[in-house]
């Protein structure tokens, strides 16, 4: 399992009062930095535009004072406004599919928004989010210091997948490559079974040869029936490993990887 060090991200699970676990996927440092850069440029250009106006209507000193004040107020206000009114998404975050949420998966409150944006000054040191960036690389949830103090978290919102979904990416699993079989594997195997299959394959080396063979045959027989797999040439262990490759590879991965077997089990 991936642990949280330098980009290794794990979902955080939030339990709703209805006892339904929801998964929050922390955003990576890269997309967060990009979103920040976008927001930063927006704030600066908005201030510059306003400064042109100030210069026209206000006396020189007052105009500069107004620009300074506006830049400072916007640096905070922009984030606070969008985090509250646009459900945790500044324009930059929205462009990158990110959202600030409370540590429990709820929208953040006014106080939380203020705190995380006040600590931004500290995260920003010594240059463009040096400290905050370093901290967020080390944290499992990718949080910067402001997120720690406000108990918030930036999550990556996956775009809702197409309902019918292309269960394609089919070709590469030897005898399981047929579309109908792949669909049955993906649909009919539960999460617990998926974990179980991986565990079996990882521990196989520690089994005695004959025990290993029998176990794999037994498991394979079960799935041959359950998933209507017609692949008589496949040994029990090959079938199990192919199943794992289908179950654990994401749609893109399975399409791209030439050797799913070694890939999914190399750990």
């Amino acid at each position: 399992m991936r642990t949280g060090f330098l980009g290794g991200r794990q979902s955080r699970v939030v339990l709703t009062p209805e006892h339904v676990p929801l998964r929050l996927t922390p955003a990576g440092a890269g997309s967060r930095a990009l979103a920040l850069l976008l927001d930063f440029m927006l704030v600066v250009s908005a201030t510059q535009a306003a400064a042109l106006l100030f210069n026209l209507v206000l006396p020189a000193g007052v105009a500069t004072a107004a620009r300074l004040t506006l830049l400072f107020a916007l640096t905070f206000g922009y984030h606070v406004y969008f985090e509250l009114r646009r459900n945790g998404r500044t324009l930059g975050k929205r462009a990158l599919g990110l959202r600030v949420v409370d540590g429990r998966g709820l929208p953040i409150t006014l106080e939380q928004s203020f705190l995380r944006n006040i600590v931004r000054v500290f995260d920003f040191t010594p240059v463009f989010y040096g400290l905050g960036g370093a901290v967020s690389l080390l944290d499992r949830d990718g949080r910067r210091l402001g997120d720690f103090l406000a108990d918030t978290l930036v999550v990556h919102e996956r775009t809702p997948l197409r309902p019918e979904g292309s269960l394609g990416g089919a070709r590469r699993h030897g005898d399981l490559a047929e579309a109908g079989t792949l669909r049955r594997i993906r649909n009919r195997v539960s999460l617990e079974e998926r974990e179980f299959l991986l565990a079996v394959a990882l521990r196989a080396d520690r089994l005695e040869e004959s025990a290993r063979y029998d176990l794999m045959q037994e498991i394979a027989d079960h799935y041959r029936k359950k998933l209507e797999i017609d692949a008589p040439n496949l040994s029990g262990e090959s079938l199990v490993r192919d199943l794992i490759a289908v179950l654990w590879g994401s749609a893109e991965n399975t399409a791209r990887t030439s050797s799913p077997r070694s890939q999914s089990l190399s750990s």
Binding site: L24, A60, L68, V119, T125, L149, R162, L191
Partner: protein, 341 residues
């Protein structure tokens, strides 16, 4: 149960829920009406149940991700916290400024005390060091504060023209000052909150500088000038920095020592107080910046020292009374839904 059928049968409902949420997230709650709200609640419960069910049926990420995202949106919408309703902006604001901000500082009086002691302790050390060895001043004080002897600086300032000649000058200088000071106070807060010791150090260090600079002026026989020039804004600015540090300590205590609560709970309990304290700090620094950019800059030709020192004393006492004078208890307007959730 066959997952394909499961998904097919529920497809319309999930779609309806997504559409309803799209609408509900963009319009005010009033327009949604009780019927719409009830439908969202209903659909949320069904979707949450579907998610649980689907997890036992399949590992297909496409179905699970979609349901998870949908249920999460519903959860966020339904369990969000709501502000206090039925109170006008003005009464709300005046209660915030007149009652809630001082109350917050009174509740965290220990933190204020620690911060003040750190600053004063630093000032004593700084003053003591200069008194013990006046020649150490250039080493202790950064060069930007130490370009000429205090006495010649005073003479130069008092003889040259007023530095602030127009409203524009005052506005610009004031804005530079409060922007910088607010940023510094946020840093002091962050350091206090996330390291505790760092916050104490920054206060102590600033105290040392202040004590040392003040003592060089005293030794040069121009202490009245110093008080008149630093006093009017310093009487607000220095307390404000100490208060920012104090807010940091209060946050740090909630963060590092949650007691038998979880860290999240402990922080959430402290949030309203921290917010109020920080608002108080920012308010004070805005006023201090404006004073420092204008009134503080007038030489004795325009405003006599006595008046400037009197203003300094009045400002400091006002701040102290504002924050720490006990107020008669007042019935809370409506405790229902006030910030907590």
């Amino acid at each position: 149960m066959d997952i394909e059928r499961f998904a097919r049968e529920r497809e319309d409902r999930w779609r309806r829920f997504a559409e309803l949420l799209n609408r509900a997230e963009t319009i005010p709650e009033r327009e949604l009406g009780p019927a719409g709200m009830r439908e969202i609640l209903q659909l949320y419960r069904l979707t949450a149940a579907d998610l649980n069910r689907a997890r036992s049926l399949t590992a297909n990420p496409e179905i699970l991700e979609r349901l998870n995202a949908l249920a999460a949106r519903g959860y966020r919408f339904l369990y969000r916290s709501r502000g206090r309703h039925g109170e006008g902006l003005l009464p709300r604001l005046s209660r915030f400024v007149l009652r809630e901000i001082p109350q917050a500082f009174q509740q965290e009086a220990w933190a204020v005390l620690v911060a003040v002691l750190a600053l004063l302790g630093g000032a004593l050390v700084g003053a003591g060091a200069i008194l013990a060895r006046p020649s150490a001043a250039p080493e202790l004080i950064p060069t930007q504060f130490f370009t000429e002897s205090p006495r010649s600086r005073v003479e130069r300032i008092e003889e040259s023209e007023e530095r602030i000649q127009s409203v524009g000058d005052a506005a610009l200088f004031g804005a530079q000052l409060y922007v910088n000071n607010i940023r510094v106070s946020f840093l002091a807060f962050s350091l206090g909150a996330l390291t505790l010791v760092g916050g104490a150090w920054i206060l102590f260090y600033n105290g040392v500088l202040l004590g040392a600079v003040a003592t060089t002026y005293y030794l040069d026989g121009v202490s009245v000038f110093f008080v008149a020039w630093v006093g009017p804004h310093g009487s607000l600015e220095l307390p404000a920095i100490a208060l920012a540090g104090a807010t940091g300590f209060a946050a740090g205590r909630a963060f590092f020592f949650p007691g038998d609560k979880s860290r999240g709970e402990s922080l959430r309990a402290a949030f309203p107080r921290l917010f109020r304290m920080l608002a108080g700090v920012v308010m004070t620094l805005l006023v201090a910046g404006w004073i420092e950019g204008s009134f503080s800059q007038f030489s004795a030709k325009t405003v006599p020292y006595g008046l400037k020192i009197a203003v300094a004393a009045v400002l400091f006492l006002s701040l102290a009374f504002y924050l720490f004078l006990p107020r008669p208890p007042q019935a809370e307007p409506s405790p229902v839904g006030g910030g907590g959730r």
